[in-house]
Symmetry: C2
Subunit: 188 residues, 2 copies
DNA sequence: GTCTATAGATGGATAGAC
DNA sequence: GTCTATCCATCTATAGAC
């Protein structure tokens, strides 16, 4: 049922994610849905709880990614096939009218920033990487159409950003060869 | 009436922007509102038409900004007091469930990219700047709460991004002194 | 042009059978 | 646990007075 709710939020927006539509998509009746989630607010709370679990797992995956945490982070910003990204996009849509969802997104950002700063050792660069990720993410979350996954930022934008950050990371000083400076730091 | 519609979309989301609420906020009755905009769809179309007018003016302002087009562009990404930015945020909210609004946002991005690329002369950097701007913009659009303008990215994030881009621009080659390379190009 | 009144559809939620 | 039936509020839109 949370899957159906996520899918509707992501693909058709908050307004279309009615109890009726969620129940139909989940293959149950409205009454059946309301047995598990007594109110619409409870359904939302269930989604936010799931997000919290998934973000913890994502941070752990970032730390051990072979391409390094930053590149893994940016490339996964537009991924559309993991439960985590789908949940995040759904919550972003909810955040329009829900303070709790907005707070949940802010918390995710805070946790990401801490880990990226830890990886690159540069507060300015970490915040900029977060912004680039937000650009990729929100663009892909909001501009993506139902049937057109090519809308919004795609591989082209992400590759451009990765190259730009590599230039910076390569010029930082501690690195050396220019192809992988602090970008890939702590990836080993 | 478009002002009232914009304000409701921006502050309380698509779902709260009902004909009733818009009419009340505009100080007219529902019937009065529907005299000028026969359907809700017509109201939306009116907002998109206004956006088109405002983006044209914004591109012109970018070209003549004293701090250069890129810095002007990034700093204005989180501005909350211009009619253009308020309209853009409102349309971003509509884009959840409206194909026309989504297309309008994509068009704005296309026009921005062309102008930024023209200013920095580097496609990768231009696309990255767009992503940073989207990060600032969507963050400020979506995380901003009714009474808390400090949520989402603020001056701190923007300053960080400007410094990072300056580093890049200063390292580009054609510039020289490092404090203003292609960043401020064509600003004179 | 702007209003009130109301129609018709749909939203969230409850009651009670099975 | 899941269903159908139903209540009540609200939404878009129409009709018609002023």
């Amino acid at each position: 049922m949370l899957d159906a709710y996520t899918d509707l939020l992501e693909r058709r927006g908050e307004r279309a994610a009615t109890l009726d539509a969620v129940a139909r998509a989940a293959g149950v009746s409205k009454g059946g849905l309301l047995y598990h989630f007594a109110t619409k607010h409870a359904l939302e709370a269930g989604l936010l709880a799931r997000l919290d679990t998934l973000v913890t797992a994502d941070l752990a995956a970032m730390r051990t990614a072979p391409e390094g945490p930053v590149e893994h982070f940016l490339r996964s910003s537009a991924s559309d096939d993991t439960p985590f990204d789908r949940t995040l996009r759904a919550v972003a849509r909810l955040s329009q009218s829900s303070d709790a969802a907005r707070q949940a997104l802010a918390d995710v950002n805070t946790r990401w920033l801490a880990q990226i700063r830890d990886a690159v050792g540069d507060d300015d660069l970490a915040r900029t990487i977060l912004l680039i990720s937000d650009g990729i993410y929100y663009g892909s979350a909001l501009l993506r159409e139902q049937g057109d996954p090519t809308a919004g930022p795609g591989a082209r934008e992400i590759d451009a950003a990765v190259r730009v950050i590599r230039r910076l990371a390569g010029n930082e000083g501690d690195g050396a060869d220019g192809s992988r400076g602090s970008l890939a730091a702590r990836a080993d």
